[in-house]
Amino acid sequence: MMDVNDELSELWCSQPCASAATKEDLVRMVEKRTRQFDRFILVRNVLESISAFAVTVIFAAMAARAPDVLQRAGLLIVAASGLWIIAFLLRYRRASFPADPSQELSCYRRALVERYDREIRLLKSVKYWYLLPPWIGLLTGSAGVILHAFRNGRLGWHDFIAPLIYTAFFTGVWWLNEVYGVAHLQAERARVLTIAGDHAEHL
């Protein structure tokens, strides 16, 4: 009688797994996917850098034409925050590496969990490094506008619309990152943890 192990192995290994692709096709496929991924990263970084640079240039030009010191200071803070955000992001990405899949299965799970933790920390700190600098700049600029209007005796309710709009917008961005984004990442992290926990039990 055939051994159970042999029977299962034989059954498993006799599955037809023929591939229609030749090895050359496979090489072309992996090269294409790798190139696509590299291009995606490059395009994303370039677009982000261009937008940050555009924000800096536009707000710096507006600051040059600002009628008073407070407005100029606010616009300059926004211009500088564009550069700060892109520098922060590029530095963060340079320091973070994907988990190496050639590690032991248990180490890889730990690396995956750590990576999720890092991403979660980044999203939770969005309010400090991403939202606060431009918001303070815009608020300072708005204070300058309001003060200017007050001095000229033309202060009206419409002067408070802009601060309300961008504060609402910034609140939305904060919610998307810190509430929605973090919840999504925590769900993925929990899925990896169930596997890692299963693993840790038997080490």
Binding site: V4, L8, W12, C13, C17, L26, L112, D198
Partner: protein, 224 residues
């Protein structure tokens, strides 16, 4: 007096430093240099060719095993193909970093299983939103002959279904075992002790065997 000052070239030629520098030029290096000189290719191009050669060799040797592994993780044919491609890309990226610290086989299985786990974590979420398509045509092309072939296909389908139903860690161990890896190799890949592997395997094997013999009914008697 003059003889004492003059260097002894014969001795210097046999100095350990020179011998050491000779020892540090292994055959492959000379061949690579020769290949570069002959083809006038840049070192990057030569490395790329070496990477391609190793990748093709790995695929020739392990493609069926990797496809079987993908079928153990992904139910839908499109997902299986996608997972297989992800594993291939992962291997392509890892090939230049292979240092030979572990055996090629265990290194390859580590990468494949790790990618399969992270990929199936993402896929599980996506599939929760989509209506699953049941894949009953598991084994197109298993043609032995007549009834025997049908029975065999049925058994294979049951085995596959039972494996997919296992918790991730059990599934990994049993997949490695079915591919013919021994306990030491599974330990090297998973990081689990051989005792833990042994006890898990005996339990899982028994449940798989029962699952197949009972025609896909689990211990609770329900059809899976």
């Amino acid at each position: 007096m003059r003889e004492e000052i003059a260097p002894d070239w014969r001795k210097m030629d046999q100095s350990p430093a020179r011998n050491f520098s000779r020892m540090r030029l292994p055959d492959w290096n000379q061949k690579t240099m020769l290949a570069q000189a002959m083809t006038r290719e840049s070192p990057e191009r030569v490395q790329e060719c070496a990477r391609r050669d190793m990748f093709v060799r790995l695929m020739e040797q392990y493609e069926p095993a990797l496809r079987r592994l993908a079928s153990g993780y992904a139910e839908q044919p499109a997902d299986r193909e996608d997972l297989f491609q992800e594993i291939a890309v992962g291997l392509w990226q890892a090939v230049p970093n292979f240092r030979g610290n572990a055996s090629e086989r265990t290194w390859l299985y580590r990468i494949a299983h790790n990618i399969a786990v992270s990929s199936s974590t993402r896929r599980r979420k996506r599939n929760q939103k989509e209506e699953p398509i049941t894949d009953d045509t598991e084994f197109p092309g298993t043609f032995i002959n007549g009834e025997q072939a049908v029975l065999r296909r049925e058994k294979q389908a049951l085995l596959l279904r039972a494996i997919r139903g296992l918790p991730t860690l059990d599934r990994q161990i049993v997949l490695l075992h079915l591919e013919g890896l021994n306990y030491a190799q599974i330990e090297e890949i998973s990081g689990l002790s051989q005792t833990a592997i042994g006890s898990r395997l005996s339990r899982v094997r028994e449940s798989l065997r029962e699952g197949i013999l009972s025609g896909g009914r689990g211990n609770d008697g329900r059809q899976r």
